[in-house]
Amino acid sequence: MRFSFTEEQDMFRDTIRDLLSNRCSPSDIRVGIASDDGRVPGLWDALADMGVLAMLAPEEAGGLGMNEIDMVRVLEEAGYAGFPEPLGEHAAVAVPALVEGGAEHLASAAASGEITCTIGLDAGGPYIVSARIADLLVLEQAGRLWAVPSDAATFTEQPSIDATRRLTTVEFDTANATLLDAASVGMATDRAILSASAQCLGVSRRLLDATVEYVSQRHQFGKPVGSYQAVKHHLANVRIGVEFAAPLVYRAAWSVASPKSVAPADRSRDVSMAKALASDAVDAACRAALQCHGAIGYTIEYDLQIWLKRGWALSAAWGDARRHRSLVADAIGV
């Protein structure tokens, strides 16, 4: 029984953090928002060069052979940076589904970054993220997973408040799709929920850091607003929420990464526990961050909006806190 990260895992996380901090600033993100495809120029390729897209592909298929424990820490950093592209959908869900589904060529094209993937599973609801920039969609139909080329699907845009997270509904015909017969919908769904949970942690941490910085500088009545207890206690609560959600996310990552030790029902329960607290944490972070910023946080020019909107979206994505508590209640027989 050990529950801490190795130095190598920390170093890998730090490398991603540095890359995103240099290449995915709020102004970079705004370039993506203003563009047609929503992408931050060059960043996807940089992540592909570092192997991030191939983390969950086995070494013999040209991947890094890492697991979900490594992946959640990268996704936390993606959330922290506000990275606006479908990293979780592609690297944490589609790549392993293609590998497990036996679609070797598609898996290696996705792992190398040659093609971009997104996903559409029933548990995620009808709106698919970044479908317009995807070359390949991994979609659920009738309880099975299909690899669908984008030209075999039709898209209807569904404009949403987070301009970095572009949504569409998708229709497709299985005639032009590849059945990923051996890939499990349950596993793909749990990976997607885990991915959203990890990003919720990162978004929460960013909102907290940004707000601590702001209230330490902003003065009213002759002193920093961050010196008032009302403000301190809001932010202490955010910190507590993140502190106790994170271990459940790491524990769920271990459960997903340990199919030999953890039965599918237990894995799904662990993932739902993580999402319940991660959604609660990010909701609280959004609420406190906006309140402690005051009117400046309520503007589109101020960068806080990037994480507020991502937080709102991710809190509900793949089931909100109440939905996952209900799933946990079923699992524990309440």
Binding site: R2, H233, V334
Partner: protein
């Protein structure tokens, strides 16, 4: 690394704990530890634990422990609370004072105090709060003046849990009246039967004399009983405050056991009709998830401590979380019980001997003791987040 499988060594240890507790669990409930007869019954239980090496499993063998690592200690605690055996009347000494004696005590003090604490021969109470020094602990006024090789103590302590029958009181007193606030305080260990020490039980919210007021009137204590250096009492005390707030005082096992009882209660109440109200179902599940979150956060913390990390102000995060979790667990049970929630143990219709009511009343004290949650949130804001003090 993350590997959440219990290795055979830990599984064997868990089975050994579980078996011993099942074999030695008292037949019926014993009296509350905050009554004179219950206090002595709980002392006997401590002795039984000690004789079998279970009173302080994480201590070194020479002081009555087993030298368990942190993981084994957490496993022991989980089994202990799940077994439904008596609470620990010696908890204040073992959790709050012992870490300080291990850190700051001389070899003589360790030999003198620790084995008797482990066996229950000496039960300790904490004498820190005063009528005018609660959250503002540095405002302590109880004074001690050195006279030869004895300190002469005058003043008053209050809210002293288990203080009415404890054998010893661990106190912080002011030894330098010229020094300001945190300076000039000294940590001193006082026998409860010292001449000049008088104590008066105070009934708590539940009517039991769980508190005591302690009055010192020229109470003389040997200079050998100072823990750490004279004048360094604040630093010595704060080392223990970290233990009190963090995992030492409230291991997850306690809340996991309460969460399991809560889900059992929800099932029992739901079995009578069409299940429980969906909102209550949501609240029960939320409390259960948070108990698990405390468990895994503690395992994460313990692993990092075993890797060589140190715990500082993060203990305040734990204190707020477990105290509010405990309240949530019990308040949810009270809502499940509806009209029966207010019935005390003697009522014919009471559920489970009114254990939920007793637990609820106790849980209400959690956000107050060991530093109020408002003080903890200030500590989190200033020392963990780095917000300006003023």
């Amino acid at each position: 690394m993350i590997d959440l499988i219990l290795t055979p060594r830990y599984l064997e240890f868990r089975d050994e704990c579980r078996q011993w507790l099942a074999d030695h669990k008292p037949d019926g409930p014993i009296a509350s530890m905050d009554t004179p007869e219950g206090f002595e019954q709980h002392r006997e239980w401590e002795r039984l634990l000690f004789d079998n090496g279970w009173s302080v499993p994480a201590w070194p063998i020479e002081y009555g422990g087993r030298g368990c690592d942190l993981m084994e200690w957490l496993i022991f605690e989980e089994e202990y609370w799940l077994a439904g055996v008596p609470g620990r009347v010696s908890a204040n000494g073992i959790s709050l004072l012992a870490p300080t004696i291990f850190n700051f005590g001389t070899k003589e003090q360790q030999d003198r105090f620790l084995p008797r604490m482990a066996s229950g021969a000496d039960i300790w109470a904490q004498g820190w709060s005063e009528p005018e020094a609660g959250s503002d602990l540095a405002g302590i006024r109880t004074r001690a003046v050195l006279d030869g090789d004895q300190w002469v103590i005058n003043g008053q302590k209050t809210w002293c849990s288990r203080g009415a029958w404890a054998d010893w009181i661990f106190c912080i007193v002011r030894t330098d009246p010229e020094a300001e606030r945190h300076r000039g305080l000294t940590y001193i260990l006082v026998p409860a039967d010292s001449p000049g020490l008088d104590r008066r039980p105070v009934e708590r919210l539940d009517g039991e004399p769980g508190f005591a007021e302690i009055f010192f009137d020229d109470c003389r204590v040997s200079a050998e009983n100072v823990l750490g250096e004279v004048g360094q009492g604040w630093a010595v005390a704060m080392a223990a405050a970290g233990s009190e707030r963090g995992l030492n005082l409230r291991s997850p096992g306690r809340f996991m056991a309460a969460a399991r009882r809560l889900t059992d209660l929800a099932r029992r109440i739901g079995a009578g009709g069409q299940g429980i109200d969906p909102r209550l179902r949501d609240e029960v599940t939320d409390a259960w998830i948070r108990a698990e979150a405390y468990r895994w956060q503690t395992y994460h913390t313990a692993s990092r401590l075993m890797d060589g990390a140190e715990m500082g102000s993060e203990a305040s995060l734990m204190k707020v979380f477990w105290s509010e979790l405990d309240l949530e667990l019990h308040a949810t049970a009270m809502r499940l019980l509806g009209n029966r929630a207010e019935l005390t143990g003697g009522a014919p219709d009471c559920v489970d001997g009114a254990a939920w009511l007793d637990g609820y009343v106790f849980a209400l004290s959690g956000p107050i003791y060991a530093g109020t949650n408002e003080i903890q949130r200030n500590i989190i804001a200033e020392r963990v987040l780095g917000l300006p003090r003023r």
